[in-house]
Amino acid sequence: MGKMWVIATNTFREALRKKTLYILLVVALVAIGTSRFFSFLAAQDELKMIKDVSFATIEFFGAILAIFTAMGGVSGEIEKKTIYTLLAKPITRKNFIIGKFLGQSMVILLNAILISLFFIGLLISKKAVPDMEIYKSLLLIYIELLMIGAISLAVATFATDAFNIILSFFLFITGNLSVYFKQVIERTENIIFKGLGYMLYNIIPNYENFNIRDQVVVGVNVSWQYVGQTILYGVMYIVIAVLVGIYFFQKREV
């Protein structure tokens, strides 16, 4: 754990000293901040708007940060050739990938916490008390962002940045539209396309599972059992993605 932690803290420090995190943070805060200017709406609608925009903003900007931090964690080290100095040290390639994952998870967490604090502060300023459902939704969004980062990290070990960006965003979009995707598959009559569709449906991470904001916004409670099962599903994807990353990085020459 010691050496993985060294890689992780360095990845975290790198993110703190680069502008990307702050730019994304400012844009996200502006997006959430502007949602309060809908004062012409009724008080209840304004709160719904703030919650909806805030959840979407944390998810979207968190996804961008997760993808670019993960990508930079591997290809950035290779491009800048800092990887030579790392691999020459007494660390294994497994240490490197797990360390990178831990580091990017810390970056994603910091970003999510800062935006969430702003969001919660905004709710409090509107005299609304943030309930447990809000925290459940934020927790699930964080797990989703870890999944996005883990998949992007795995792809970075064997593919180019361009491919990684396209694939990660494709998965992000299709994973968030999996309900509609399933409906299309069910309506398909061709057996081959149907089989292929179901296979893709099962492989593509179902990010829709992590989206409980529609319920939270309208005040519907989500059970802890659902939250727990969804976290377990996310952790399973993360473990598989990190293992895939380790597998490919152990074979990769830099």
Binding site: E14, Y84, P90, E253
Partner: protein, 258 residues
Amino acid sequence: MPLLKVTGLSKVFQLGRNKTVTALNNVNFEVEDGEIFGILGPNGSGKTTCLKLLLGILFPTEGSISIMGKNQFDVEAKSRIGFLPENPYYYEYLCGTEVLNFYGRLFGMPKGLIKERTEYLLKLVNLQDAGKLALRHYSKGMLERIGLASSLINDPKILILDEPTTGLDPIGCKETRDLLVRLKEMGKTILLSSHFLSEVERVCSRIAIFHRGNLLTTGSLSSLLNQYGADNLEDLFVKSIEKYDVELESGKPVAATD
């Protein structure tokens, strides 16, 4: 037993489906404890590929590497190696002290020892006043010196240096050469890859000359000068390469000597 032994080492890069490039071809050499072993060769001769293979950054196509009796991927063997890459690239957002601290922690060194070594090494490479400066503000020569310091953070038994004087001014080059001699006196074994023949001539106990991925010759400078009838290292370098090219054109096999 040699500290480092390379046996039948080959590296073939696959470029596309049907194209390959042999970067290193059946290379054999040994490095003894406490010597400075110079690796010479023109650009693209396979020197850096050889060093990357020794460090486990690349995987050999054939052959084996033994470092203190262990293979090149062994964590214990790596913990006894210091490495300075050619044109060292470091984390530009870190300052000199942080770089040394980072690499020290990767070696699992205790905090106190890292602090002690950092102060000592910054002084050794004349960067004691630049320890708090971010690397993005360092000159090329300063980067080379912090690279050298970081390669020494773990007090290594084997030091692998790839072009350590690139970018240094004449005074910096002389200081580096003097430092190499001091390190040798301290019992370090040094593998020095360099374009600067005069540098190699002054500090190395034995040399190896690479060309087109082949190890042309290896041995002590005096024995090689005699063998090739050369006056100096530059003459030896040119003659060994010319001999190889002539033999290659005439189809004769070329074997390395030790």
